[in-house]
Symmetry: D2
Subunit: 393 residues, 4 copies
């Protein structure tokens, strides 16, 4: 059984990547692509790498009546920030009536109104829609994603950071501790618009922080860590621009509260410790951790204990590769794939834990995870159409 | 029906790319990998991007008894230059007896002895083996490849240059004219050995020619153009090192002999105009061209005529995309795929024709074409396991 | 003695580079900078690398009355194409009256009207101004530059190509032969405006030709080669975009007319063989070449003979480094400097001569050569303020 | 007055950069260069960018009798790690007798024996020599450097990190707080030896941590912060490899002890708060801070207060640019120069201070600071020969 799928916002990098992935997805019929710019042009003119592989023309994503004619089971929205919020109140309710399910890659549905408006500096989406949207971090919330009609696909940084920190959050290592995240992203994360800030001559051979103290992905990370940890979380997140096209490496520094130590026990991705909003909160891993000895003094090697914790947490998750102690992830080892590589380090001199996570920001950080969510929603195997081997070198 | 396949030389870039492609080839069972270095290590240690995707350990490619135990239908050789020549006389005859077919990615079997020794500066392979090997430029010689027991997979530059020039050679535009090829390659073409010449700090933000007047791919290009043109060909080939990892762009300048003009007639890839060695030579396209008017004066637009010639030549060839006049190829539009993009320009001011060809040197220029040849040899569809959409951006 | 200098167009890359060089020029007082955009901002806000080094604010380059208040001996114009043509007829005559001398880095004054309008697609500058402007290729036309009131600084590609080909042109190797130029430029050549074509994610790991058959530097190259060769020249020039920030490598292929051979005789940069327009044409080197044996048969090694020709031609020219046979230039060996490295190859198999020239497009190809011309015009040593050692690695 | 200078280890990147800088230093006569490899070759063959600018041949740095013939006032050592330790006990005492002063760029003299051997994994240098060596962070220890006969030039990471953290250390913000340093370096920091880890195809489009928890610059940072803070310091330092050639950005996260707030008072680079080893320790800034209100509650903006602290600390230091609040450093804004750009951020949500420092690792992080130390030792202006404007773009 196949599904008819449309991509709105197909002239951007995330939208283009969706089309690239869907073009060879064995159960998908790509029925329409639309762009917020370059409407009317062939997709292969906008993205010449798709010459001969995709024959659709871009429809005008800004026309609301586009939705009346859309014979699609699933619609991906990869529109610039704010456009989904503006569009969905009008088009989603009737589409939902017809059975259309929507996966939105923007940040518009990820945050409650107050938080959204504070960090994005623009009016939030309809609160009812936002409440209906399921946060689509596939590894953590697959149960709710499967039945969702509206999915808020995670941001690129939050995907890497949350996959890195979720096991610790559930295991109680974050609440009451310190979390500092130093994140680095490739340039494609900024989208496909001409800008001096992403010009080759400005970015190449360069490296710099940006949006210091005000990156809009901060509340998204804090919100989900809060769900997992069972209490409000505050995180220092600093973002930097890497002179690479694809890839995020998040270096996450955690100083657990005194007395915490890893346990490879009940916490597990998608398990009861990872409750999305609208369900009661709680953190069995955290509870279980109470009364334990300090990490460094625990029986056995703390690095191995951490590794065990993560291996248990991500058991059965095909896209997360937890690296053994001593190995570190590299963005080039996941480029072009839907994988997230996670590396772990416990520093006995300082007591800090470092978790490294590497993803391809356009795949696991955007289009790939959106397809993974499509697979979940359609009841297919999670990996369908996503058997992408990283492109190395 | 599946085939059992082994890769020797799997610790290099071409070998690693073979494993990457074969790991998801639907009809292949990868039974062994061997390396000329790092034998004994897991493939995933040598190439961490394959973690969790390939579980084989590297055998020692230097041990001849490896072949006794090799339960493979097809063996890919991706060994450093000279090693295939040293190895094959001993191991290939008994293997051939058992039905093993070999695809060699090195240059060792591509040239007759005198030419090989002059350009490679080392002893040539057994002439009988060299004569038995079929030159594996898939688009041109598919008939002979299908039945070959031993294939000499083309070099990366020759693949791009020959696909660019074959239609003109068959159509008689090269013989008696001038051919100047300015070729640029990414760094992975130099292989995966530590070398100052390919160190990041030496290559990045740099660009320079290398091996001027003495690149070993020159005689390979001339030999095949000679087959196609029906007479000896001499080409000025200059190679440059691009600060990119993957990709070749060959800019091929042709000044046809006086009076030549394109005809989209009998010449066709794989047709009678493209006879490999061991068959009588001849060039119907060239013959047919005799007596025609100059390109610039031909009825209609010479650019369109050229386009027609190439479209006809590559009709039905799934991996060659001939771009319409005014469009040019870019290596990033083919990266990660087995495609070859070809662009055409006729310059009325000077009478020169420019043909641009872009490939991924590790895919169409090495491992991808080798898999394409496997598909031909095994009687499968040419594109099996090669439905790779270029990775852009 | 110092000179007061102003830079108009200081918000672009060439203008910024001028300011960078003039800031440490020992005989220059930088009295004003103006921009076509970002007027009113501190120069150090527009170019943060100049923080603490340049304290001027950008004036508005578009205001004609700027010139009334300009207390400058020399004015550099680094404005976008077309703006110098629009501005100069009004401001230059009165400024010239006051003794102001102008060095224009745009293409507006380099070509006669018909040629300019055909290749630039916009109205040409006042023909009288264009005729007054001296073409500022410092090595070839230093005598006229010294006394010029208005200099047309050469284009980046023409600088590299003309330095590569001038000795051959003067020596008679071009007239009646074939000239094919395959040129590659870094991205900064496109200027500092936001554009998808120069975005990092589009350019990095990419390489492609552009403006095929229609690059506006073609007639500039042909015009000067014509002056040097003593007859009209047609050149096939193809430009490619390199994924580097700074640098041009021009690979120039020359097939001399039958019977030509190098002579390291009378031809010399700046000598009588290099007459600019407005003077009688002539080519002693070419004349001298008549009746000589073919290059390959000349006494001695043709490569050495070529080297001798170039060494003689550029004797005493501090910024041209002619490399001995077997060595090739690399753009990273000249980056950040005003040098032009030239490499030579004679190919006995085909009879073609290859000349490689490498420059930093923003220094020798723009701002550095403009400062070199300032030095000539002011009567200072040519190298004043230009003792820039290339930045390697 | 000029000084005669020799560079040992001139075939590496730091040594090559020293030669590049010394070649145009107005008071230096470069009398000898020697290499640990490629001895006998001209310097311009080893580093072609120096063609025509440096005419010396490389002597053999491994020959001890080299020192007998060395007519130099200053000797720079840029040898691979361990070689200075092996060489100096033999050659330095007699050279010191003759008045030779040595600046060693390796890590061999920076740490006491126990610490060196634990982190470098090799025998330490003679403890007497190590004790004699003055730690050459020019901005902090200029008084002792001026009279030193033996200088241990700082490591590249420590230079950036210590310049970032010194003002906070002296002001008492580190002792009793948390310090997490996330540092990123360009590839040239690894030196000029062929290595797969620094090969273009492995590094480009990649980003990864390395030497996690065991980088040998960790104890160097801790030692100097300890001197400044007046008590033992432990720092979590994590290093990452950037796909750029030159540049370090250190992102330094500091959580000051409760109650700390900035004061732009007595602390000042080179002042009494920055005592090197062998002098009594103490931290007037820290003392002064006692009893003050929390940063966030202090009168006025904490960001401005931090800025004031740093401006005071680095007043009169020509190579340190402290950026105003809201601006961040970028490595490309200092590339090719001896500058260190420092950016500051106080995060009111978490209470953490972030200090960003950017340097060119080969200039301020190695050769440039070594020349700065030469200037101090010779009694010249600190900036002599170092008026390098960053190369942008």
């Amino acid at each position: 059984m196949t599904a008819r799928v449309a991509v709105l916002g197909a002239s951007g990098y995330a939208g283009g990547e969706l089309v690239r992935l869907l073009a060879r997805h064995p159960r998908v019929e790509l029925v329409a692509v639309a762009g917020s710019s370059r409407a009317g042009e062939p997709m292969a003119a906008v993205f010449p790498h798709l010459r001969g592989l995709v024959s659709l023309d871009l429809a005008d994503a800004a026309r609301p009546d586009l939705w009346d004619r859309l014979e699609a089971d699933f619609v991906f929205l990869a529109l610039p920030s704010g456009q989904a919020a503006a569009l969905l109140p009008q088009v989603f309710p009737p589409a939902r009536e017809r059975g259309v399910r929507v996966i939105d890659l923007s940040g518009d549905l990820r945050l409650p109104r107050q938080s959204y408006e504070a960090w994005y500096g623009r009016p939030a989406a309809d609160p009812a829609l936002q409440a209906e949207a399921v946060y689509g971090l596939s590894e953590l919330f697959s149960d709710r994603i499967r039945t969702a009609r509206l999915v808020a696909n995670p941001g690129c940084y939050p995907t890497a950071i949350l996959l890195a920190l979720a096991p610790l959050a559930v295991a109680g290592a974050l609440a009451g501790g310190q979390v500092v995240v130093d994140a680095k992203s490739g340039v494609s994360g900024a989208g496909r618009s001409a800008s001096l800030a992403t010009a080759f001559a400005e970015v190449n051979e360069n490296f710099a922080p940006y949006k210091v103290g005000r990156h809009q992905h901060t509340p998204e990370v804090e919100q989900v860590l809060g769900w997992l940890a069972g209490r409000d979380m505050t995180v220092l997140l600093t973002t930097h621009l890497l002179p690479v096209t694809r890839g995020i490496l998040a270096t996450c520094y955690v100083r657990p509260p005194a007395g915490w130590q890893p346990r490879s026990g009940p916490g597990r991705a998608g398990g009861q410790g990872t409750r999305p909003p609208g369900q009661e909160r709680g953190c069995p891993g955290g509870e279980a951790a109470a009364g334990q000895e300090p990490l460094a003094e625990a029986a056995g090697d703390p690095g191995e204990a951490l590794y065990g914790l993560y291996r248990s947490f991500y058991a059965g998750k095909p896209f997360v590769r937890v690296l053994p102690p001593g190995q570190v992830p590299a963005i080039k080892h996941v480029q072009g794939s839907n994988l997230c590589d996670i590396g772990l380090h416990y520093d006995p001199r300082t007591g800090w834990i470092t978790v490294f996570a590497a993803i391809d920001n356009l795949v696991k950080g955007a289009a790939g995870q959106a397809v993974q969510n499509l697979n979940l929603m359609a009841g297919w195997d999670e990996t369908t159409g996503l058997d992408l081997v990283p492109l190395f070198p």
